[in-house]
Point group: C2
Chain length 626, copies 2
Amino acid sequence: MVAGGADQTETVAAVFLPEEREVVAEVGTTILDAATAAGVHLETICSGRGTCGKCRVLIKGYDAPPPTWVDNRRLSPAQLNAGWRMACEHPLTAGGTYMHPLVETNLRTVESVDLGKITLRPNVRKYMIAPTAPHLEDQQFDWPRIQDGLAGLTGGVDTSIAALRKLPGVMSQVGKGPITVTLVGSRAADFESGDTSEAMYGMAFDIGTTSVVGSLINLADGAREAVAAELNGQAIYGGDVITRTSFAGEEPENVEKLQMAVMETITGIIDRLLREAGVDRGDVYECVFVGNTVMMHLLTGLDPGGIGVSPFVGVSAEPMTMTAADLQLNLDPAAGVYLSPSVAGYVGADLVGVMVSTDLENREDNVLVIDVGTNGEIALATGGDIFCTAAPAGPAFEGAEIRQGMRAVDGAIERVVLTDKGPELSTIGDVAPTGICGSGLVDAVAELVRVGLVNAAGRLLPPDELPPDIPPALRHRLIPDDEGGDFLLAGKAPGSPGAVSLHAQDIRQLQLAKASIRAGVDVLLDRAGLRPEELSEVLLAGAFGTYLDPGALLAIGMVPPVAVERIRAVGNAAGLGARMMLLSLEHRVAAELLVGRVDYVELSAVPDFQWIFAGAMTFSDEVESQ
Amino acid sequence: MVAGGADQTETVAAVFLPEEREVVAEVGTTILDAATAAGVHLETICSGRGTCGKCRVLIKGYDAPPPTWVDNRRLSPAQLNAGWRMACEHPLTAGGTYMHPLVETNLRTVESVDLGKITLRPNVRKYMIAPTAPHLEDQQFDWPRIQDGLAGLTGGVDTSIAALRKLPGVMSQVGKGPITVTLVGSRAADFESGDTSEAMYGMAFDIGTTSVVGSLINLADGAREAVAAELNGQAIYGGDVITRTSFAGEEPENVEKLQMAVMETITGIIDRLLREAGVDRGDVYECVFVGNTVMMHLLTGLDPGGIGVSPFVGVSAEPMTMTAADLQLNLDPAAGVYLSPSVAGYVGADLVGVMVSTDLENREDNVLVIDVGTNGEIALATGGDIFCTAAPAGPAFEGAEIRQGMRAVDGAIERVVLTDKGPELSTIGDVAPTGICGSGLVDAVAELVRVGLVNAAGRLLPPDELPPDIPPALRHRLIPDDEGGDFLLAGKAPGSPGAVSLHAQDIRQLQLAKASIRAGVDVLLDRAGLRPEELSEVLLAGAFGTYLDPGALLAIGMVPPVAVERIRAVGNAAGLGARMMLLSLEHRVAAELLVGRVDYVELSAVPDFQWIFAGAMTFSDEVESQ
């Protein structure tokens, strides 16, 4: 305004490579905008908002300007030192030459039943290059030659010894065809002769206390090539995280024993996945792991002891990047490993996976997510805030500590309806009932409450207290004893061959389990200032969530009173989250942003928690509101 | 000048922590200058020139400005993201609060015969912190608690799983005393209860083709606690780099065999060093390695095949940082490993070590350095430029391919003077001579040339061509044969018991070896536009350099004609360089800057090299200038 004709439109000219196209733009136009205006196609996902890191250019013709905050966040030190900058951050400069990477044209958006729609943007990328051969006037070593070959395609890259060991064999073929370089992040992990760009796989693991599930994923098209589940080999050291944590603390070498046990399970799954899909071990470039915090600790050989005792503090909840060699996986030693971050001692990377696959960070409505298991992990998203907590539910949902409880295998009662003629039962495998699993237990208790055999306080009523309208076919199944009585679901008498009954103590176990989860839910609703009816969705994650009947869960009051159609099972959402983090860096970034945003609520530090828990014991929200 | 009272002195006020001292300075004053003016002691080595990376501050009170180029080079991404900036790069800002790390007061400058004066600034640092204990209202995990505890002492730090495994045991003692955290670079590698700051060791290795030398160094005071040398276990696969390189190429598993062989030597040396010095394995935090390029390849399991054939191109010459676990060293898996960079296929990390210990990057005069060995590595520093090359000398200096040649062990002739009464010999161990080693060979040939038994062209003259002034006691020792004759150094007749003679073919071998080195020197001198007399020093590195007589080297013309007092042996300068890189980051940085500056000259690509080589064959510079 003061000097110089600022009201005249001054322009600058610069050149974009590899098109060699000259671009003229007004002074102050960003490199990105100038390119876009001139039809030079720089890749961008965020349209210049500085969040995607894609529109990078290698600046030549003048000294690269000091990196901005955004440059620094999105580019590696190697890239910055080489002169790469974000095109959205800097003005086009007269005389500048800007080399931009080839736009990734192989980005595919795929859709599947479980993944929904996802744009493939894996951390693993393959680039074909044709490095020049060395000669006496150009004695550059192999690795810088590869780096030069990649310069036009990507920014600065690192590598590792394990990968470099593969380089000489490939470089001896230089000149006879292209070389495919595989990047895991900005680290070159593999070098191959010829075009191998379609052979690119990853694995996603959900390390559960009970079982480990692994998926082999084709990173080129998103397809799940194989899935395999095995019981977690740590089971011999204890059935739940508490016994394993205390076993870990007994002897210094026990942590290593537990680590080796789960590693044996994992390496077995890896072998199975490769065999079943017919995929080469060397074509698997990355593994993503989720699991509860104790499992994530044991996977990496960290003592989870601190998680077992108040204040429930572990060693590290940060995301970790390492190599297959670091974890001693039976994959190429240079393959990458990504361990999802955790939130707290009992809100693990598995719930982070659930939050990713339920897209919780982008939900603007009020969504409650419950991952039902030995430890219920609960998240509540509301208008940008995310609260979460962990509720120690105990093993009732797994059928443990229930007299005739069993896992969900053939012979387990999974559905119960009480009619005037007696119980109508469905068993897994349609065989004679031999016990009851979690979903049968929830159903049975819900029905007992509905017909009035169990009151709102959870007491199996003695015959003399029963309401008069109880049909005789049910009334006669009530077998009083000194411990509160038994209800015969199948067979002639408790304990007789073929008999399955539900004892008052079993009902008590379920009541404690559901009260724990419900109390956690109530604390989060209170923290968010929400009433149950304001929830637009209640999502049930995990295998139990899939089999539990939403109506029954409402009836026993495990979930707060919402319309039953708002309750939806989302399956193995943790494992799905791991697959999404494998297939798209955006979901991985989302996971890391999420854990920074989540507000963790420690139930044992909530004032008057015992009263909230007691209130959650009731078997009927209708009763509660009376 | 246009608006605002720019001629008035405006000032800003800000606060420095941990002193809590308010500082007032003129607008535009850098944070560093403002602190210095106010007596707040920020550490700086380069006085604000942006090269030392020491004057970092954590900016609070306003958003940290975008990192500058210097910030980016000197601070890690973790530090930058946390808000650390270089105080010399940014202006003091009103309302700012600047937390600076405690000045490292334990920097010691030590002096020893071989190291000279060196300021200890190892990559390994120990910090004592007192983290807070977790409780239900503060459930931060162990590792972020450590990070917080370090924040006032250093910038952002990373760690590894191997180190984190040690954390729970130490954190269980929180509150009972301080915790010592050991950083290797910006990576936390160890956590210990109590103050262990004096227990801090490192090792420096020089991996030679023939032997491996390791030193155990006290990083707290610079003392060499132990030194051990072993023959390189690879010897069973070949005596020199050429045979090992070709063995490596024969079978795919041979590279691994060679790697395991040298690793066995190294781990043996590590055990010996620890035992001899009584140092705990867990107190060794870093190892620095130098060696020729083939040895550096084999150490990391890289196939050196490309170095064996023209154009002599290896896999990678870059400096590498890894962990003891990566190399499978018998040290704490989290200990650091630094592999010095190399320059070219035959100018390895060992010559980089030589250049570091001879301070070549700071020499302003003209200095020639020759590392005499099977491959002569030669560097010439002149007014800021550094030229270097490699000359394939062959094994003559080791006594190999010499008929009665032997290593420098008892019985080897190491000094020869020819007098009127015959040869005066010194043997190693003062025993009867059984052969001749490199220094004896050089001496003998120099004497034969001096008295005239060998002419300038290198021919052992037949009796009938001898000058008349040759004393009979020498003349009679000349034994003609069909292959050029033999000169009897000891004993009665060639081949008789106790006889040691030097054959014309032996003289030829030495002539070829010295010509190779001299030709390399001449090419570098020519490249630098220097005459020999302009050299202020000729430094001889390596064991051979220590034992070769400067006068004899001048006499045979291996070194160019300079005053004999300018020739100086610098011992195992490569190993010394490794120790300096271990003791001071500044020397490590110097090594990396050096390899970027060095101008490597490939002799086989020099036009007319055969003529230069032929010219270098002559045994007398006097003759040359006739």
